[in-house]
């Protein structure tokens, strides 16, 4: 027996090559049984509560408050007092240091937050660990640096804070969206009342403990939980000077109507139906990875998801074939398993919406493909799905599904790609895949969208402004431009 054979003989040979379970430890997170609202630096006992669950198992996690109008009013009042009594007098350099502290604490406690985020939201731990948390901390770090440099961002405009910002965030990136809202607001010198999404309140509530550790003055950040009624109360509240909303276009329009005539400042980051455009000279394997990342990242619960794939006709077959093969390797399952690529759908309501639109796609005549896939019995799940033979008029090509569902269309010329890509009321993002640099820029000039990714997709960075054209909203988050949403200027020109 050769040495090699001898070694192989002794080595334990796996009987099958499927992944062993690799669950991330849950005990790093300590949940309270019941959470109140964080108002004026203290926990306010809620008058009404509801149960927040894990969408992967339907296991109840905690009782959280459903803030009433009166409770929202108290939070707004706490924010007003904090703004008037001290926070606006804190020197910008000291303000910066509070934000640096928050960034550091988020880095220090990142695994705890990542586990909680996956537990309460259903997203795979590898995403919450490697995307949500690092980006949230980086966002605070970046805006910390701006707090005492505002005059360089807006020369000759004498920037100053607006006052109290009411912020309403979605459930797809709970902590990251909190960071996108709170970091620039505080850097600019405002105080805030923030409402996390109804289904994902826990990371925002744990964030209150970060604020305690950072010794942020009471009332500068207030967090109230609840459903759309609480959000509506924030929008309507008298003491709110600025409303920032991330969520659906439908609710965004309602908010715009509500604040009309009140003088409140408004920024909206709404839905999308992004085109991911693949030209025949693209590096196909790389493009297929980009397509998968574009639509199946975070179960497709991404406003900028590449939900419409536009493939140049000459490469349609190989792209679809490669894509289907790649879909078969996606692992759908336990969000806390480190090998999961696709986690749970965030809520029953969202699952039903996805199911309804997918049924409509089949009814209208599109061809559905779903890889063989065993889903867990409990919880909310949806198999990664591809539709071919999709016409532009189909609902699955027009409406935002906000799930792991891709609609494939084709084009022949760059002009046709632009026309089809722009043929939606949305304009948040787009992707372009080609090895030709000049074509990337030609396309970028013509695509009516706020973010264009070329030969990549779903990239985010605190320095990079993000936001939509058309019905995807207005205002930008991130970068120097993201500050403008939270400032007023003494030059008499609006922001």
């Amino acid at each position: 027996m050769t040495e090699l054979e001898h070694r192989q003989d002794r080595a334990p040979v796996p009987k099958d090559w499927t992944y062993a379970p690799a669950p991330e430890a849950r005990d790093i997170v300590r949940l309270e049984e019941r959470y109140g609202h964080f108002v004026g630096g203290e926990w306010l006992e809620p008058t009404e509560t509801y149960t927040t669950i894990s969408p992967a198992s339907e296991e109840p996690l905690a009782q959280v408050g459903q803030a009433t109008e009166a409770e929202v009013a108290r939070a707004v009042q706490a924010a007003r007092e904090a703004f008037g009594n001290g926070w606006s007098d804190v020197s910008p350099a000291e303000r910066a240091k509070y934000l640096f502290r928050i960034a550091r604490i988020l880095q220090e406690r990142s695994r705890e937050f990542a586990v909680l985020e996956s537990l309460n939201g259903g997203k795979p731990i590898k995403e919450s660990r490697d995307v949500d948390l690092p980006l949230a901390a980086a966002h605070f770090f970046y805006y910390a640096g701006w707090a005492d440099k505002l005059e360089y961002a807006f020369p000759n405009r004498r920037p100053r804070p607006i006052g109290v910002a009411g912020q309403i965030i979605p459930w797809n990136f709970p902590l990251l969206m909190l960071a996108w809202k709170i970091a620039p607001a505080l850097a600019a010198g405002n105080t805030v009342v923030l409402k996390p999404a109804e289904t994902t309140p826990l990371s925002a509530l744990l964030f209150c403990d970060v604020l305690r550790q950072a010794e942020l003055p009471a009332g500068v950040v207030n967090i109230v939980t609840g459903d759309g009624r609480t959000g509506a109360a924030i929008v309507k509240a008298e003491g709110i000077d600025k409303v920032a909303f991330t969520g659906s276009t439908e609710v965004g329009k309602a908010i715009q109507r509500e604040v009309a005539g009140t003088g409140k400042k408004l920024t909206l980051e709404l839905g999308g139906k992004a085109a991911n455009i693949i030209f025949d000279d693209a590096a196909l394997d790389q493009a297929v990875e980009g397509i998968v990342n574009g639509i199946y990242f975070n179960q497709g619960h991404v406003c900028c998801a590449g939900s419409r794939l536009l493939v140049q006709e000459s490469i349609y077959e190989p792209v679809v074939e490669k894509l289907k093969r790649r879909l078969g390797t996606l692992r759908v399952g336990d969000p806390l398993d480190k090998n999961s690529d696709v986690g749970a759908i965030n809520s029953k309501q969202q699952l039903e919406k996805i199911q309804e639109l997918v049924a409509a796609g089949e009814e209208e005549g599109a061809e559905i493909y779903q890889p063989p896939c065993r889903l867990p019995e409990k919880g909310y799940w949806f198999v990664p799905t591809v539709f071919t033979n999709v016409a532009q008029s189909y609902r699955i090509a027009q409406e935002e599904i906000f799930g792991p569902v891709l609609s494939i269309l084709t084009f022949r010329t760059p002009e046709e790609a632009v026309e089809k890509a722009n043929n939606t009321p949305y304009g948040l993002s787009a992707g372009v895949w080609t090895e030709k640099g000049s074509r990337i820029l030609w396309m970028a000039e013509r695509l009516r969208a706020g973010v264009i990714w070329a030969n990549t997709y779903n990239r985010f960075d605190p320095t990079s402004p993000f936001g939509g054209y058309k019905e995807s909203g207005f205002g930008r988050e991130g970068g120097r431009h993201g500050l403008a949403a939270y400032l007023q200027f003494e030059d008499g020109v609006h922001a």
């Binding site: 910066a96 980086a138 970046y142 005492d148 440099k149 961002a153 000049s438 120097r480």
Partner: protein
């Protein structure tokens, strides 16, 4: 006689992340201590260390550089009591820390304030980005002892340069203490090098060195014109830095601007 005799520190140079004595074996007495008196060879070693460390520092993401500089502020804060003994006191230390934090916040904003997208009249995408110039030589001012050297070194580091600094001849201990904070701050070895010795002896070698890209002669006093002439040998950027100031333009002084053209078309 004291019960216990304190162990005294040997004050050495800071080159390539290590603390060597001067290769010349020389010291001089300053602030009651024997301080290394660097030689021409030490200057050349420091420039080589800086050049070697430059690509890594310049190649880091701006975010990462910002975090490392913030870490430097954390390290100075942790040693604030010691630093206070080597300068005018606690207030100067605190201003120093806050200045480092201020610059830490600039690393990932410089391109957004100093760079541009240029609307050229043709089918081209054209943009300008700042980049570090390379190895920067700095003469630290005598006063304020701590804030001065930090004010001169940190803007160059913020932009992604590697630095060789000559500490104040009269007040070198703050610079040596700073080296010890740098050594524990995640600033890669060789990115910041601090020499002690006679400024008049060391500055001409730095000014004439062909692998130094910029020299800050703000603290050169009467020697500045000679140093500026020597700097012309390889067209060094000559900067007259102030001892107590902060501005993104302090960083810009050690940056190059790169403009990129790219065609737009189908």
């Amino acid at each position: 006689m004291p019960d216990r005799l304190p162990v005294k520190k040997t004050y050495k140079l800071f080159i390539g992340g290590a603390f060597p004595r001067s290769e010349s074996g020389r010291t001089y007495e300053a602030e009651g201590q024997n301080v290394a008196r660097a030689s021409r060879k030490d200057v050349r070693d420091a420039v080589r260390a800086a050049r070697a460390a430059f690509p890594k520092w310049a190649g880091m993401t701006a975010y990462n550089r910002g975090q490392v500089l913030y870490r430097l502020a954390e390290m100075i804060e942790a040693r604030a009591a010691e630093f206070a003994e080597y300068c005018s006191g606690r207030d100067e230390v605190e201003r120093t820390i806050d200045r480092v934090v201020w610059y830490a916040g600039w690393t990932d904003k410089l391109a957004q304030v100093l760079g541009s997208s240029n609307p050229v009249a043709g089918p081209y995408f054209n943009f300008t980005v700042p980049e570090p110039t390379g190895v920067v030589a700095t003469l630290a001012p005598d006063e304020p002892a701590l804030l001065g050297i930090v004010t001169r070194i940190v803007p160059a580091l913020t932009g992604g340069n590697a630095v060789v600094a000559v500490a104040s001849e009269a007040h070198p201990l703050a610079g040596i203490e700073l080296a010890e904070a740098l050594a524990t701050s995640d600033v890669p070895g060789g990115v910041a090098n601090i020499l002690t010795g006679y400024r008049g002896e060391l500055a001409p070698w730095l000014a004439a060195h062909m692998d130094v890209n910029a020299i800050d002669v703000g603290a050169a006093n009467g020697d500045a014109p000679d140093l500026e002439r020597a700097a012309a040998a390889n067209v060094k950027r000559v900067v007259h830095g102030h001892a107590d100031t902060q501005s993104p333009w302090e960083v810009a002084a050690f940056l190059e601007l790169k403009t990129v053209w790219h065609p737009v078309g189908q």
